[in-house]
Amino acid sequence: MPNIAVFIEQRDGAVKKVAWQMLSEARRLADAGGGEVWAIHLAPAAGDVAAKAGAHGADKVFNAMDDAFTTYNSELWGTALANFCREKSPDVLLVGSTALGKDVAPKVAGKLGCACISDAVGLTHDGDWTVRRPVYAGKCFVELTPTGGPFVVGVRPNAFVIEEKAGAGAVEDFAASLDGVEPKATVARVEAGDGGKVELTEAEVVVSGGRGIKGPENYELIEKLAETLGAAAGASRAVVDAGWVDYSHQVGQTGKTVGPNLYIACGISGAIQHLAGMSSSKCIVAINKDANAPIFKIADYGIVGDLFDVVPALTDEVGKLKG
């Protein structure tokens, strides 16, 4: 009878989509195994999160409302989630693999002395838990079993499908008990960067450019298609290392690993370290002049052609479809 806790991450009042994806998957697991789904929400104010969490499958929503949860702090968030696990003893705490989640998940596990598994894409429970995750940036997958519980699992964005149902969770206040916690590291300020409007690792569609774009001035072809699709713009290591595009766009084993619904690779030949970072995408499109480029081996659709012709034409066509 697994009880599954899901961390609801919000930044400036906006909840990360991965939280709803985790709740939906937790609901499916709990329905199969007869347990409960709990949402743990750290924020300065409750907002409408409890109702939304209920609609995504939470049986109980624990609201830990504290002004301390305005700006992220590893020590405060880590302490609050560890206290929650100590007090409520869920089998597992799911934390989205976001910038915040990747920072806090090991912190919680460290405080609890429990197992932590990063970047999960699958969870099953048949008496024991099995967690599936990619390693070597997706060149292969591993199935892991934690010893004991509660344990912490980081969940890759877009790994699970959102399901909404009519329903409301019971709402309870949770006292995070932060008295006496004095963080030795604090966020002084947050600055917006040039990383693009849509975050790569969370995007449902990614458009990436490789060496085929020939120069930094042509990256706007990629950005225009991305913008038309509401997608994030990515890049291969070659163009990042050449200094054409900021490293925050890099997809691959030494950049970001992505698994969107649609990945469009433009002028990317498909080096093994790049394929590793995007091969779990659900639908892959390759646009490349070289019909023998390795990218076509993992693509679902391909156009052998010059990206300078094809990409603007595709941007126009997508624009028409999107109206």
Binding site: S74, G78, T98, A99, K102, D103, A105, K107, A109, G110, K111, C116, S118, V135, Y136, A137, G138, K139, C140, F141, V142, E143, T145, P146, T147, G148, K184, A185, A188, R189, V190, G193, G195, G196, L229, T257, L262, I272, Q273, A276, S279, C283, I284, V285, A286, F296, K297, I298, A299, D300, Y301, G302, I303, V304, G305, D309, V310, L314, D316, E317
Partner: protein, 259 residues
């Protein structure tokens, strides 16, 4: 000032995993092994701090078999680290993140370091946990995914990459920082420096030397499996690029239903 750099030897990013069917282990016999690229940023940052002046001693710390020595010599000592501690113990084969963090924390506790640097993750396990777990075990603050680091008097300011921007974090020293691409450009070792690096102290220890029982894993590996197979690529052909683009957009919309 004493700086520790936590380093790991990993298979090169060009490595192919030969795994035709699910198996309890990966055949790693043909792998070319290098310093984890993210740890190279940690090494470079430590060396830059030393070059900026003052009394700085840099210790590279790693866990691994005898074969890690060459990587430590070439990619840590030859580029500016002063000495190395290597934990070599067969009991640590297959150690998980928590076990590795316990051993590294035990090594770090032998000295008092002002700053601990490591990569944000290793490119083999991809878990990104070890640095943060080490900091937690030592009761130190950490800043993860750092792209800029400035040291002050007993403190640091770090820029940490987040979605669509950055957080500027202040922390007191001692502290642990995990390094991201963009922090610096790691230098390559020169041949004379590789020769000289052989004379730098390299201490090999076991868990017993550290007064430590080999820590038990908290996570057990059941099986490794290859990625799911992908279907054939459907090539969209047309006389004009515009026609091909139109057909592709139609397929993505109507058949694949992804736009």
């Amino acid at each position: 000032m004493k700086i520790a750099v936590l380093a790991k030897q990993v298979p090169d990013s060009e490595t192919r995993i030969n795994l035709p069917a699910p198996a309890p282990e990966i055949d790693d016999s043909g792998f070319t092994r290098v310093l984890n690229p993210y740890d190279a940023y940690a090494v470079e940052e430590a060396v830059k701090i030393k070059e900026a002046g003052g009394e700085v001693e840099i210790t590279a710390i790693t866990i691994g078999p005898e074969t890690v020595k060459e990587t430590v010599k070439k990619d840590c000592l030859a580029v500016g680290c002063d000495k190395a501690v290597i934990v070599t113990d067969p009991a640590l084969d297959g150690a998980d993140e928590a076990a590795v963090a316990s051993v590294l924390a035990a090594v770090l506790q032998k000295e008092s370091y002002d700053l601990i640097l490591c990569g944000l993750k290793a490119i083999d396990d991809d878990s990104g946990q070890v640095g943060i777990l080490v900091a937690e075990k030592l009761g130190l603050p950490h800043v993860s995914v750092v792209t800029k680091l400035t040291l002050g008097d007993g403190s640091l300011e770090a820029e940490r990459e987040i979605e669509g921007g950055k957080e500027i974090v202040n922390a007191s020293l001692p502290a642990l920082v995990t390094c991201q691409k963009g922090l610096n450009e790691p230098r390559l070792p020169s041949l004379p420096n590789i020769m000289k690096a052989g004379a730098k102290p390299m201490e090999t220890v076991t868990c017993a030397d550290l007064g430590l029982e080999p820590p038990a894993n908290l996570v057990q590996v059941k099986t490794y499996s290859p990625p799911p197979a992908r279907g054939e690529c459907r090539l969209v052909e047309a006389d004009e690029p515009a026609a091909a683009a139109k057909e592709l957009a139609r397929l993505l919309n109507e058949e694949a239903k992804v736009i």
